[in-house]
């Protein structure tokens, strides 16, 4: 069965060019960059080149790039490192729609005695900038606001946000895991102090991430160990993965503008096709600016997990913010924060496209999805009743 993989916000296929680039660093250039010999020196050089490429993708300085093991580590290192570096300040501002890597730190920080403000979003997932302004105080150590939302693809106006925060002299961190590689991220223009990104969302492997730290930002190290990464993150460099990430960053940078237009074309086709063919569908964040590759929608009267499993029977891979798929009993906190009614949120499905998706695949989904939704609606007790109400 052909696999139609439309879950690229969850993870992506490693680009074969990336794999190729990585392989010699397992078998030939396996040295430790800290070692005083030729194999070590070669590894060190490769790491430096990769750092350069990542810096270019973000338009940053190479010495501002710290390699980590994943986006979650970057988020933890940023938030806890900044708080630790200014222990007298006890307030943090973030949003209600952050990725769990940030969001799930909130209860922990509260327990440690921090005050945390979670900013509201509106029905379209847009941030309330007035709320942001009002929340900043002299006690605020850090503002952490994501660049683009992983579930809905809604993009926050990061330039404006960063300016508001920096005008108050507060440290600003952004989780840009979903933004990097999908939209331009130019740190020479964007006044953020810290930024998290992840390799496996841009066709590098899992297990490698980056924390960008602007020169002069005070951050306590999260991993204490050797002198690696200028003492900002101990642990022997993961050379093959760093090399892979460098290659992935290079490809991303070269293809970004063309690729994001192509993906937007496919996404729009998928979105319009679904709205044309299937009644009672809501597109989440429709009124907001969104990532070009992401479509999150709610199919009313059906439940997301059932939909995913029937799609999966046809080889189509997507994801859902419904309760059942996550093992929790409530729909995703993002959809709840947006005020999407539970009745719809349980039927949410996210299609996220990537480099390897084609137009034929979009057509394949459009051919099959209406039948699946219809089949589940026929089983649903509410669909029939709705029909009766509209008849009467």
């Amino acid at each position: 069965m052909k696999v139609v993989y439309m879950d690229n916000n969850a993870t992506t296929r490693v680009d074969p060019l990336v794999v190729q680039e990585m392989l010699p660093f397992f078998t030939e250039t396996y040295g430790n960059p800290s070692s005083m010999h030729l194999v070590g020196a070669r590894a060190q050089k490769a790491v430096a080149q990769a750092r350069e490429k990542v810096a270019q993708l973000l338009n940053a300085h190479p010495d501002e790039i710290v390699f980590t093991s994943c986006g979650t580590e970057s988020d933890n290192a940023a938030i806890r490192g900044v708080l630790e570096a200014s222990p007298e300040k006890r307030h943090l501002v973030t949003t209600r729609v952050e990725h769990p890597a940030v969001w799930n730190q909130i209860p922990y920080l509260r327990q440690k005695g921090y005050r945390v403000t979670e900013l509201r979003v509106d029905r379209e997932g847009r941030l309330d900038l007035e709320h942001l302004k009002a929340s900043l105080t002299d006690d605020t150590a850090l503002v952490s606001i994501m660049f683009a939302n992983n579930e809905t693809g809604v993009i926050f106006p990061l330039e404006e946000v960063a300016q508001i925060v920096k005008a108050r002299g507060i440290v600003f961190h952004t989780d840009a895991v979903q933004a990097v590689g999908k939209i331009p991220v130019d740190l020479s223009k964007l006044p953020v102090d810290l930024l998290s990104m992840s390799g496996h969302k841009i066709h590098a492997p899992k297990g490698i991430g980056v924390l960008y730290i602007r020169r002069g930002t005070k951050v306590a190290p999260f991993m204490i160990g050797g002198h690696q990464e200028k003492g900002r993150r101990g642990g022997t460099e993961n050379v093959p993965y760093i090399v892979g990430l460098g290659k992935a960053a290079e490809i991303s940078q070269q293809e970004l503008s063309k690729e994001s237009m192509r993906l937007q074309g496919l996404r729009d086709k998928l979105e319009h096709g679904i709205l044309e063919r299937i009644p009672r569908v809501l597109v989440n964040g429709k009124g907001a600016e969104r990532l070009p590759n992401t479509l999150s929608c709610c199919f009313e009267y059906v439940e997301g997990e059932s939909l995913l499993l029937l799609l999966s029977d046809l080889g189509i891979c997507a994801s859902s913010g419904s309760a059942c798929t996550s093992g929790s009993l409530e729909p995703s906190h993002v959809l709840r924060a947006m005020g999407i009614p539970y009745t719809a949120a349980h039927g949410s499905v996210r299609f996220s496209l990537g480099r390897f998706n084609t137009e034929e695949e979009v057509d394949f989904v459009l051919e099959n999805l209406p039948g699946i939704v219809e089949r589940l609606r026929q089983i649903s007790p509410f669909w029939e009743r709705r029909a009766e109400v509209s008849k009467g």
């Binding site: 997301g304 499993l309 059942c324 798929t325 409530e330």
Partner: protein, 276 residues
């Protein structure tokens, strides 16, 4: 990704008895769209009080659809009295088991069945009169108590897995803990109707619990200990530790353990000692 059995996937992909019975004798509606799953069960009952036909409509995940389908298969042809004896565990067993976090789907089936039978008898559902404990998911005290008793639940997480109660805002956690504590005192949780046919899994769980709660503490008082090695059909294999090992009277201990297990779990059990 959930691990669903083949049987669950089969009943999800090809649900049996989907639909509406227009002239149903009993209709049971449980759940809601806001809660994420809902089931409407229709039953047709003949003159002898036998369920001739059953149909359902379900909104929910794969295991909710599969549980509904299994429920209709289980009750068709049964008398009302027989159907009343079907528990959520029977539904789960029919499907070869459900992930624990999905047990609430089987409980939803059981609740729909009780509702449909009450409707058929012209009664209102008792559980509706019972006080609401979890507002997020509309779960009453009676529903929680039934789930605890019938499934031998001991923790709040389990109560959430089985009834959804407590899976939202969390403000009912304390009340759930209270109910758990009260039932633990009142009736031993493991006391089940004597004639009940136990599944292997249930039997195992009950044996384990009885040993943990009642037998081990006794032995430990005398400086001994016990370990459950295996349960095979009705044979319970244990090994004794500490002072009990090699104790000439350990035969007596074994007899005592057997007595207790017979009383708490099933009359058919035999206990054997495994020497290590």
């Amino acid at each position: 990704m959930w691990e669903y059995t083949e049987k669950v996937m089969d009943h999800f992909r090809n649900p049996r008895n989907v639909g509406v019975i227009d002239d149903a004798d009993g209709v049971g509606e449980v759940g809601s769209m806001a809660c994420g799953d809902a089931l409407t069960l229709y039953i047709k009952v003949d003159q002898q009080g036998r369920i001739k036909d059953a149909k359902f409509q379900t909104f929910g995940c794969a295991s909710a659809i599969a549980s509904s389908s299994a429920l209709t298969e289980l009750i068709k042809g049964k008398t009302i009295e027989e159907a009343l004896k079907i528990t959520n565990q029977d539904i789960a067993d029919y499907l070869g088991g459900l992930p624990e976090q999905k047990m609430h789907c089987s409980v939803m089936g059981r609740e729909a069945l009780l509702a449909a039978i009450a409707n058929y008898k012209g009664q209102s559902r008792e559980s509706l009169a019972s006080p609401l404990v979890c507002e997020c998911f509309g779960v009453t005290q009676e529903e929680i108590e039934r789930a605890i008793r019938e499934n031998g639940l001991t923790t709040r997480e389990q109560v959430t897995h089985y009834t959804k109660a407590g899976g939202g805002c969390g403000s009912c956690h304390e009340r759930i803990e209270e109910i758990l504590a009260r039932l633990k005192k009142e009736v031993p949780v493991v006391a089940l109707p004597a004639q009940r046919r136990l599944t292997n899994l249930q039997k195992m769980r009950l044996v384990e619990e009885t040993i943990e709660r009642q037998i081990r503490p006794e032995l430990q008082k005398d400086g001994g200990d016990i370990e459950l090695v295996d349960v095979e059909g009705n044979r319970v294999m244990v090994s004794l530790r500490g002072v009990c090992t090699g104790c000439p009277s350990s035969n007596i201990t074994i007899k005592g353990i057997e007595q207790k297990l017979k009383e708490m779990v099933s009359q058919d059990l035999v206990v054997e000692e495994v020497r290590q």
